[in-house]
């Protein structure tokens, strides 16, 4: 996270630290599911014969602290199964459509002040993606060229799609980067506040003032550099049915 602050324990109790292909983030759903980005599990241009069971076996998931060392001491939560959204294509380097995945933990976690799940958006409330809607994104990713040992967070405004698209058209040069309706962008053009590498999979959350619950509206997905403009997030609202289809009515 660039331009952010250190989170205190219990600020983002859903934040997970993932160690699959390097460092990533995720968010706890219920008491046994981790929501994350598909490319944190299947990076772009990874080798072909990927074995999800093997990845699940080797994956390390940590919950319940803001300090990486402490997290390691608390021990990881083994993964039973991995679900990658079928639209995600690891071979298409510039297309992050469907960049969403679910990890099922082998054992449910016991919730408490430092381990709590995040809510999913429900279709009735689409103000979450309105231009300027402020949200928080947290993560253990790069800050000033170093991965952070502590959980950082930054508050960013969501940006209207056409602004995202206009900016992208000017910034992407010849790269055929795809901005789809299953994404949204957030952040600033000039202010140095943004998510960065290592934050992938963490969630962009907003406070639903109606219910008083925090809701995950996006997943850190991609960007051009870090704090060089807007950051791009997977639009969770479009995947809630997929998630519920896997997670069940937990």
């Amino acid at each position: 996270i660039l331009g952010g602050k250190s989170a205190r324990r219990g600020n983002f109790p859903w934040q997970a630290l993932t160690d699959i292909h390097g460092r990533g983030g995720g968010a706890l759903l219920g008491d046994r599911w981790i929501l994350t980005a598909a490319h944190a599990i299947l990076p772009k241009e990874a080798e072909d014969n990927v074995n999800l069971d093997k990845i699940a076996e080797d994956a390390n998931i940590f919950l319940g602290h803001t300090n990486v060392e402490e997290l390691y001491k608390m021990g990881n939560h083994p993964v039973r199964r991995i679900f990658i959204h079928p639209d995600y294509n690891p071979k298409d380097y510039y297309n992050f459509n469907g960049d969403i995945a679910l990890l099922e933990l082998k054992n449910p976690v016991t919730l408490g002040p430092t381990v709590l799940p995040i809510c999913l958006p429900d279709a009735t409330n689409t103000t979450f993606y309105r231009d300027g809607r402020v949200g928080y994104v947290s993560g253990f990713g790069v800050e000033k060229n170093h991965v952070s040992n502590d959980l950082k967070y930054v508050s960013l405004p969501a940006v209207a799609d056409e602004k995202c698209q206009n900016w992208l058209d000017s910034a992407k040069g010849d790269d055929p980067i795809v901005f789809s309706e299953n994404m949204f962008c957030a952040g600033f053009l000039t202010v140095k506040q943004d998510a960065c590498q290592g934050d992938s999979g963490s969630v962009f959350t907003v406070l639903d003032t109606q219910s008083g619950h925090w809701v995950a509206t996006g997943i850190v997905s991609w960007g051009i550099g870090c704090a060089q403009g807007y950051g791009f997030y997977t639009k969770i609202l479009n995947y809630v049915d997929w998630i519920k289809g896997i997670v069940g009515e937990d």
Binding site: R8, G10, L111, L116, S155
Partner: protein, 440 residues
């Protein structure tokens, strides 16, 4: 003469029947049936030459050395003596039949074709016990006491206390081993109410099935030789029950009624060589042994259909109020029935009713339960309430809510009787320390 075989029935026909019988013919039949039967004969057809006093042709019947008549003529003829449907019955077991025909059957020069007769006889049981039936010369002695007829014979028996002698007719006092097995009956001194014989050694044994208790009721008159000062020195009536002496009686004062509380009773009657007392008679009955009234051991025990009296083979069943288990020691019983035994005791003792214990309620993952009542035991009607570890979890219950009660079945159930406990589901998006920005 043709002796008839010793069948039990048969036919006798005149010579040549049904063709006219020959002249100058004498035919004789001797019918014998087995002992214990008499002969009964009737004519199915009778057509002989009629004549005054049956002088010409006739049939003569004899039995028991008596003449039973001489018959001739045709049905409805004015002369002669037609037997019609008359039944001829012997007293003994034989009958003699004689047929005579003279030299002609002419009437005014015309031969009349009289066809003779067809007679049918059968052996009929002789009721030897009916005094009127005995033939005079019947040498057989009468039954001294009891006579029992059966088809083809009879036998004698004796009153209780007597034994049939080798002549099969006379009875001699024999009461040394009288056995009574009916559930009620009578027994008395020999010859009662006539004076009893001397030198008796009578033993009457009443043996009923276990579980019955014999009751002796003395009838009037009761009279056994006695002595003013000495207790029953001459004749004694002793009553024992399973080896236990119940009493020794004599004199004129009836012992009345005696409950022996036993299914086995022996009555000894010993007499000396003299005396004219009329003796005694007992009507014994029996009733099922009684068991003590069942009493519950606690106020939760219910005795079904409590009866005022419980007797042998009766039973009672016990259940408990809802919420209590039938217990025999540490053993929980599904049901309980006690049967009254032959010795007047219950075959198993009264159980008790122990309050149902539901055991510790199922733990709620990510939650807990608390007792509504201080005793915090898990007994019947204990109440607990489930809570989740808020604010991290929220409770999801069935329609029956989060309060559970220990049911009579030993399970914790909610208001709707469901056993399924609530669930604690994660509360999402409610950090205990949410981000709060101060500086603006």
């Amino acid at each position: 003469s043709s002796p008839v075989s010793r069948k039990l029935f048969g036919e006798i026909r005149s010579p040549g029947y049904p063709k006219p019988y020959p002249n100058n013919n004498i035919s004789i039949w001797d019918i014998h049936v087995p002992k214990g039967y008499v002969v009964k004969l009737t004519f199915r057809y009778f057509d002989l030459e009629p004549s005054e006093s049956c002088f010409y042709d006739y049939v003569k019947i004899k039995a028991d050395k008596k003449d039973l008549g001489r018959y001739c003529g045709q049905l409805g003829s004015t002369t002669g003596n037609h037997p019609g449907r008359k039944e001829f019955v012997s007293k003994g077991n034989s009958m003699h039949l004689e047929f005579h025909s003279d030299f002609s059957n002419e009437d005014n020069g015309t031969v009349i074709p009289y066809r003779g007769f067809l007679a049918y006889y059968q052996a009929v049981d002789l009721d030897e016990c009916d005094r009127n039936n005995a033939a005079e010369e019947d040498e057989r002695p009468q039954c001294q006491h009891l006579c029992h007829n059966y088809v083809g014979g009879y036998f004698c028996s004796c009153r209780i206390g007597y034994q049939l002698q080798s002549d099969h007719h006379s009875c001699k006092v024999e009461c040394s081993s009288e056995l009574f097995t009916e559930e009620s009956g009578y027994l008395s001194s020999p010859e009662y109410p006539e004076p009893y014989p001397e030198d008796l050694r009578c033993n009457y044994s009443i043996r009923l099935q276990k579980g019955l208790s014999v009751i002796l009721k003395f009838l009037e008159p009761f009279e056994i030789d006695e002595h003013q000062q000495v207790h029953c020195p001459y004749d004694q009536l002793k009553i024992q029950a399973q080896g236990r002496e119940i009493g020794e009686f004599c004199g004129k004062e009836s012992p009345g009624s005696i409950e022996t509380n036993s299914n086995e009773v022996d009555i000894l009657f010993l007499t000396d060589e003299s005396g004219f007392s009329r003796g005694w008679k007992i009507h014994y009955t029996s009733e099922k042994v009684r068991c003590p009234q069942p009493v519950p051991r606690d106020q939760f025990t219910i005795i079904r259909d409590l009866q005022p009296v419980y007797q042998f083979q009766d039973y009672f069943t016990v259940s408990c109020q809802a919420g209590y288990n039938l217990m025999e020691g540490n053993q929980k019983l599904v049901s309980f029935t006690a049967v009254c035994q032959a010795d007047g005791t219950w075959h198993q003792s009264m159980p008790c009713c122990e309050i149902v214990n539901c055991g510790s309620p199922t733990n709620l993952t990510n939650g807990a339960f608390s007792y509504a009542n201080k005793s915090a035991n898990n007994n019947f009607q204990s109440v607990i309430t489930y809570r989740c570890n808020e604010p991290f979890y929220h409770i999801v219950t069935g329609a029956g809510g989060d309060t559970f009660t220990c049911s009579a079945k030993g399970t914790w159930v909610d208001r709707d009787g469901q056993v399924r406990i609530p669930a604690c589901l994660p509360v999402c998006g409610k950090p205990v320390h949410p981000i709060t920005e101060v500086q603006r």
